[in-house]
């Protein structure tokens, strides 16, 4: 997030898109609802009528995969009606003219057809956003998990820059991170192209710096993403896969391919449980849970917070970092760490954003990075004054219809997401009885009209087919979704990812297009 959780509630207008906040980030959801009750304005864009929609001044029930068009249309209206921040554009941005040219044709009327919403609602949304003193954008996987996800995020930045809403309190473009420590994993360079703190592996000086710090020669060739890895295994380029705390058998798109890859490579899995992925492994290592170790998590607002050991790990399970250290030692790398704090001290030394953070400082409260020195209070709001890269660059982007759609054999649109009670692949939540009573099994949401046409009743088991697979699943008939849109939560193995597309990625982020899949549904004979 560019701004903090506390800060986004101070915006005059909030634009929530592709985030089912009350279910996926419940505590932020509660805070945003409070802000709306106190008079803040709310725009919600989502293919489903999520709870936040009830609180919205404008709710845009858009067709999945059409966000780029919507954002362009909002900019079109803002420019048409002169709501842009001319001084901000002039002083801090580049590329405005091209943006203007591109969004010109995205009139509300034109986009209303693409998004399947009312043109007047697009205008209302644009005005609410454009006329606000401060306006914040909050988004999640509903924006990023598309083949055009990165572009969609760029259009959100465009929108924020156009109205001067970057780098100020109550503004910003704020992705909500799904898992507890996605931010920390990214910060630590658990990405194929960067070291810690987003320092590129392709930069000679950076490589040199890490070579000095770690005392070894390093590769400057970017590595493989998860999805590329699966492909590389199929093509025999990768022979061994080490899976730490992930369950790609359920979480990755296109389960069939993942399974094939896991069976083919030599696989090590390190986890709390014998997950669906661990069952296919060659070696499984027992890991300690969060309550069994000391360390840190970094939340969605970049705040580094302490995790503290409360109980002993069962049997011989060990903290993950201890396992990595012991393997490194056995491979001849001698460095030993006596505790997590010593690991953190090394992180500080090689990561400028973390340099000022220490366990001692974290004892009383979390600190948001960048925090360059011990005296620095941390940075709850990024880009104050101007964007981090100097001038903010507008990237004009055209809307492209998802290739998933338009196949007459699979005319319906499937979208996926999380639900309140379960988490990820359920390896943790699925162990709580009460949770399983409330959310026992997978289901597919479908509109009453569609159900009627297909002769399906609430609770019937239906057959759902896509180009990649087929599942049988219970129908939940609800007008939360439009007639041609369906939704499956992704927590269950008998679920969404059997159907989704693991082959077509966003060209920048390599995120697979999970949120739009062409499907067909039939009643089970």
């Amino acid at each position: 997030m560019t701004n903090s959780i506390a800060d986004i509630q101070t915006a005059d207008t909030m634009f929530i898109t592709g985030s089912n906040t009350t279910e996926n980030h419940p505590v932020i959801g509660a805070q945003l609802k409070r802000a709306v009750k106190a008079g803040k304005k709310l725009i919600v864009a989502d293919p489903r009528e999520i709870e936040m929609a009830e609180y919205a001044d404008v709710f845009l029930k858009i067709k999945p995969g059409t966000s780029v068009a919507l954002h362009n249309a909002m900019m079109n209206v803002i420019l048409e009606e002169g709501l842009e921040d001319k001084a901000y554009i002039q002083n801090t941005t580049e590329g405005f003219d091209e943006l203007k040219k591109v969004v010109e044709k995205y009139t509300p009327e034109y986009v209303a057809d693409i998004c399947e919403v009312d043109a007047e609602d697009i205008r209302k949304a644009a005005r609410l956003y454009g006329e606000a003193g401060t306006a914040t954008i909050i988004y999640c996987m509903g924006i990023t998990q598309h083949v055009t996800g990165t572009e969609s995020v760029m259009t959100l930045s465009n929108l924020a820059m156009l109205t001067g809403n970057l780098g100020k309190a109550g503004g910003g473009v704020n992705p909500l991170r799904g898992q507890n420590n996605v931010q920390g994993a990214c910060d630590m360079g658990a990405l194929p192209n960067v070291f810690t703190g987003y320092q590129p592996v392709t930069n000679e000086a950076i490589v040199k710096k890490f070579e000095d710090a770690w005392g070894v020669k390093l590769s400057d060739k970017p590595g493989l993403t998860i999805t590329d890895t699966v492909k590389a295994i199929e093509e025999d380029r990768v022979k061994m896969l080490y899976v730490f705390g992930e369950n790609p058998m359920i979480s990755d798109p296109d389960t069939k391919h993942v399974e094939k890859a896991l069976k083919k490579a030599f696989v090590v899995v390190q986890d709390l449980f014998l997950t669906e992925t661990a069952e296919l492994a060659d070696v499984v290592l027992p890991a300690a849970a969060y309550a069994e170790k000391d360390g840190t998590f970094v939340n969605t607002e970049r705040r580094v917070q302490r995790v503290r050991k409360a109980v002993d790990a069962p049997g011989e399970a060990k903290p993950d970092w201890v396992i990595f250290m012991e393997i490194m030692n056995r491979l001849g790398y001698e460095k030993q760490y006596k505790d997590a704090e010593e690991v953190f001290e090394e992180i500080r030394q090689v990561t400028p954003q973390y340099a000022g953070i220490s366990y001692e400082r974290l004892e009383t409260k979390g600190i948001a990075w960048p925090c360059p020195t011990e005296e620095h209070p941390g940075t709850p709001i990024l880009h104050i004054g101007k964007p981090a890269r100097g001038a903010g660059l507008f990237k004009a982007i055209e809307f492209v219809e998802s290739e998933e759609l338009g196949d007459p054999e699979y005319p319906l649109v499937l979208t996926t997401g999380r639900i309140l009670y379960q988490y990820h692949t359920r390896s943790m939540t699925g162990k709580t009885e009460g949770i399983n009573k409330i959310a026992p099994e997978s289901y597919i949401e479908m509109n009453p009209e569609l159900a009627k046409k297909k002769g399906i009743k609430d609770g019937d088991v239906v057959k759902v087919k896509s180009r990649r697979g087929e599942v049988q699943i219970k129908a939940k008939v609800t007008d939360r979704v439009e007639e041609n849109v369906l939704f499956i939560p992704f927590h269950w193995s008998e679920g969404a990812n059997v159907l989704t597309n693991g082959e077509v990625f966003d060209q920048f982020s390599k995120i697979p297009g999970l949120k739009v899949t062409g499907i067909n549904v039939e009643k089970l004979a």
Binding site: S4, I5, T22, H25, V27, A30, L176, G178, N180, N181, C186, A190, L191, V201, W214, L218, L224, I226, R237, V238, K239, M240, L241, Y242, F244, G245, E246, F273, A278, V283, V284, A287, Y290, T296, F297, N299, T300, E301, R306, V307, R308, A310, V311, P319, D320, W321, F324, I327, L331, G366, Y421, Y423, H424, G430, K431, T432, G434, K437, I438, L514
Partner: protein, 348 residues
């Protein structure tokens, strides 16, 4: 700035601060049942009354703003008498089953009765009787214990913003319920348990997995391991096992949790946890020692590296692991194995 005197001590506070906040500032504790700084002031229980020099009646410290020159007594005879009267009235309608009540040790009523030597009520009369609502999977609501402080209602309506709870009926029959009295399971309740956390007595209680007393547990503050909000919480631990999770007022969560953070901790001590390394032998995963497992892994890494180069090894790191775990995972891959093939599911 405002200057006042509480129990003879000078204190300076900002304009708008309440007497309660002023007292807190110098470590003087004034009891409360219904106050919470996250709610709009409502002053319904009156247990926080204090004596203000020159005022005609006692004042509720939680809602009256401090004013310049105020002279306050928090435990004067009149104050103590008033508090005892309030407790007396509450006890007239409260089952005195502290011996078995699970809130014991965390109960404001119990604590205040002890503080003011209230053993029993002097009233005799009709007692409330309600059936306990056990319909929610994670907590119970026992209206016979409710002192009508309203905290649960305000928590749900002003802070959690789910509006599942409300006052039902009037007069002696007043109690906490759901809008259509359909029971909590059928209401809009999302089982966040935030009402349960603020109930000052044993009316709203988590459903326990096993028995523990609040004085038996160790408390460890940590960060929730589910979503990216990063709520702060306290694990209550007895005999090396998590008994309950309570919210802590952190930066990002303001003392709130959701159903996952508050109630879904059974996985930690679940019998299915992996306890030993496993190695596939003859097609089956079999238990092994750490040495054996490490040998297999290290030999395989060396073999693949020798044969196909370091880029034939890849790793998926974890968005659920610690920052420190992730750091050493990436260091292992980059510095020791020699490849940048490390990614995690930020994208998924």
């Amino acid at each position: 700035m405002i200057n006042l005197k509480i129990n003879g001590f000078e204190v300076q506070v900002e304009q708008g601060a309440t007497i309660l906040q002023a007292a807190e500032k110098i470590g003087i504790k004034i009891p409360t049942f219904c106050y919470d700084d996250r709610f709009k002031p409502h002053g319904s229980c009156r247990i926080c009354v204090v004596e203000v020099e020159g005022a005609r009646s006692l004042m509720t410290a939680c809602c009256i703003p401090a004013s310049d020159g105020m002279v306050v007594q928090t435990e004067s005879e009149a104050v103590v008498e008033a508090r005892k009267e309030i407790l007396d009235l509450i006890l007239a309608n409260h089952p005195l089953d502290c011996l078995t009540c699970e809130q014991a040790g965390r109960c404001t009523l119990q604590d205040l009765c002890y503080q003011y030597d209230m053993e029993e009520t002097s009233y005799d009369g009709k007692r409330k009787s309600y059936e306990k609502d056990v319909s929610n999977e994670f907590y119970t609501a026992d209206q016979t214990k409710c002192i009508l402080c309203g905290k649960c209602v305000y928590m749900c309506s002003q802070v959690q913003n789910t509006d599942a709870l409300c006052f039902v009926d009037r007069g002696f029959e007043t109690h906490i319920g759901t809008p259509f009295e359909q029971g909590i399971a059928e209401s809009t309740c999302v089982s966040c348990g935030n009402c349960v956390s603020v109930c000052p007595v044993g009316a709203l209680m988590p459903k326990r997995r096993e028995k523990y007393r609040y004085w038996e547990v160790d408390k460890v503050q940590t960060t929730c391991s589910y979503c990216g909000v990063g709520c702060q919480m306290e694990l209550l631990v007895k005999d090396n096992k998590i008994m309950e999770v309570l919210p802590v007022k952190g930066h990002c969560n303001e003392g709130l949790l959701c159903v996952k953070g508050r109630f879904s901790f059974d996985f930690v001590s679940h019998p299915d946890r992996l306890k030993k390394p496993l190695i596939r032998k003859n097609g089956e995963l079999q238990e092994a020692t750490w040495d054996e497992a490490y040998d297999v892994i290290v030999n395989k890494i060396k073999e693949v590296k020798d044969h196909d180069g370091p880029d034939a090894v890849a790793a998926f790191s974890s968005a659920r692991g610690l920052t420190e775990d992730n750091y050493l995972m990436t260091k292992m891959m980059r510095a020791v194995i020699g490849t940048n093939n490390v990614d995690h599911c930020a994208r998924l």
